[in-house]
């Protein structure tokens, strides 16, 4: 009898607890994603910035092309673009907007090729993750506002993280190439003084890929950015090195978007310095963007980061 009463009481307690749990708990699936529901995640595409309107429009177009796809699965609530320097919207402007709109997390995707002072020091210093003395001084001088957001920033890897660049260079080489045996590849990129080795390795890989796929075996690299003080001479010299071995040089500007100053004035100027450039140099003043692989990479990495943030 005693045992039966104890069992009865225990069973009753279990039933009562189950009933209470049934009334208060959400379905199992909802309970699992509960932490994510407290979060509002945004995606910020950060690029270098340029005085060129064409350049900026290309980056806005990139955001437009990925925005819906990024928000499709419901984890990301909004996307924005920001420029590190020269023009608005700046990084600080966009982070303030995210804060005002109640975002808890911002996935920052730098649309930059590989490591540079901008990716490694300037952007983290702007958003308050670092305080690189040189960046702090330069940002002040260039009137670039620093802003530490209330939302937690999560910086993704750069474009060199995947094989996008290799595929991009190969596609553009194929568009220019007629006779691979007689052609050499010239890649012109912005460059970065402290990280020249990393930049060179990145383009070596792209050139090796082009070689494997097309048979174009001569290759040289030239810089067009601050590393050569924006001089066309590095372009001219890179072309000449290839023309010493091959009849024709295929010049590929490995820059994120089209900027008149770079693709026309600096690279175009370098080409004009080369003898017989009209017949021996093939050049299309295009850029890495637009590229559907880059768009897909942005969508994928946004999803990956948003999923991880939701799980936290």
């Amino acid at each position: 009898m005693l045992r039966s009463t104890t069992d009865y009481t225990r069973n009753l307690l279990v039933i009562l607890l189950l009933m209470i749990a049934g009334c208060t708990a959400k379905p199992e699936e909802s309970a699992e994603i509960q932490p994510g529901n407290d979060r509002k995640i945004g995606v910020l595409l950060i690029s270098h910035g340029s005085h060129s309107e064409t350049w900026r429009n290309t980056l806005f177009e990139l955001e437009k092309n990925v925005s819906d796809r990024i928000q499709e699965n419901g984890k990301v609530s909004g996307t924005k673009s920001a420029f590190m320097e020269y023009t608005e919207p700046s990084i600080a402007t966009r982070l303030k907007e995210f804060d005002n709109e109640g975002y808890t997390d911002v996935v920052i995707i730098p649309i930059l090729l590989t490591v540079s002072s901008h990716s490694f020091d300037d952007i983290p210093t702007i958003i308050g993750l670092k305080e690189n003395p040189e960046s702090v001084e330069m940002l002040k001088l260039e009137k670039i506002e620093r802003y530490t957001p209330k939302a937690t920033p999560h910086i993704t890897p750069l474009l060199d993280f995947s094989d996008i660049l290799r595929k991009n260079v190969l596609r553009r080489v194929r568009n220019l190439s007629n006779n691979p045996e007689d052609e050499g590849l010239v890649i012109i990129a912005y460059g970065s003084e402290p990280y020249e080795k990393e930049w060179t390795e990145l383009f070596d890989k792209a050139a090796n890929h082009v070689h494997a796929e097309t048979g174009i075996d001569a290759y040289s690299i030239g810089w067009c950015g601050h590393i050569v003080r924006y001089s066309p001479d590095s372009t001219a010299s890179a072309i000449s090195r290839v023309l010493d071995k091959k009849k024709t040089a295929l010049v590929i500007p490995s820059l994120v978007a089209f900027d008149e100053n770079f693709q026309i004035k600096i690279i175009g100027g370098g080409i004009e310095k080369v003898d017989d450039h009209e017949t021996r140099v093939k050049y299309k003043p295009d850029a890495i963007l637009p590229d559907s692989n880059i768009e897909q990479w942005i969508v994928d990495i946004s999803e990956e980061y948003a999923a991880n943030i939701s799980k936290q």
Binding site: V115, F120, N132, P133, P194
Partner: protein, 189 residues
């Protein structure tokens, strides 16, 4: 123009040229100094003095070897007793941050580059003005530019006679166009 009106005009002209010249003398000197400094931006850093010191670290390291203790050892070799943070720009490098300096260590080579940054006295300040690095300064800069035009025009009209604009002045004025025209012609070639 009557003689009285003419005299009044010349008096106003002289006073304007003299007093605007006095008032803007400091700014003219500042902008000229900064102009020379910024003209040579490719050859030197007109804003900052970045002192560089190469440091031998003896031996090579791997990214996994790096620990706060090792970072403190590297820092001590650079003369820094504490650091703010360190980070890896690539698998072969570690960068250590201090208050006004950094140490970039090439782990493979066992070499460090210590860079200390400080503002270049006078030049930093005049460059801040010349570059309009203070937001509202561009308006002051516009006023300054307008005043320079007035100082120049009043200067042209200051003297009369053989040394005035109508005398030898017009020839010098014309000669002043030659250098920019030559530069523009060369630019078009």
């Amino acid at each position: 123009m009557t003689q009285t009106t003419g005299n009044t005009f010349r008096k106003v002209n002289t006073v304007l040229h003299r007093d605007l010249g006095y008032f803007f003398a400091a700014l003219i000197l500042a902008y000229s100094l900064s102009g020379i400094a910024l003209n040579h931006v490719d050859e030197w850093n007109p804003d900052f003095i970045i002192s560089k010191n190469e440091i031998e670290l003896k031996g090579s390291y791997k990214k996994n070897d790096i620990s706060p203790e090792l970072i403190r050892d590297f820092s001590a070799k650079a003369g820094e007793s504490s650091y703010r943070l360190y980070d890896f720009p690539s698998s072969r490098q570690v960068k250590i941050y201090y208050k006004d300096a950094t140490l970039m260590v090439d782990l493979e080579k066992g070499e460090g580059l210590y860079e200390k940054i400080s503002r270049r006295p006078v030049f930093y300040q005049v460059n801040v003005l010349h570059r309009n690095s203070v937001d509202w300064w561009k308006w002051a800069s516009d006023v300054f530019a307008a005043m320079l035009i007035i100082i120049t025009i009043t200067g042209l009209l200051m003297l009369r006679g053989p040394n005035g604009f109508s005398g030898r002045g017009k020839w010098f004025f014309g000669a002043g166009f030659i250098p920019p025209i030559i530069a523009l012609v060369f630019q078009q070639l």
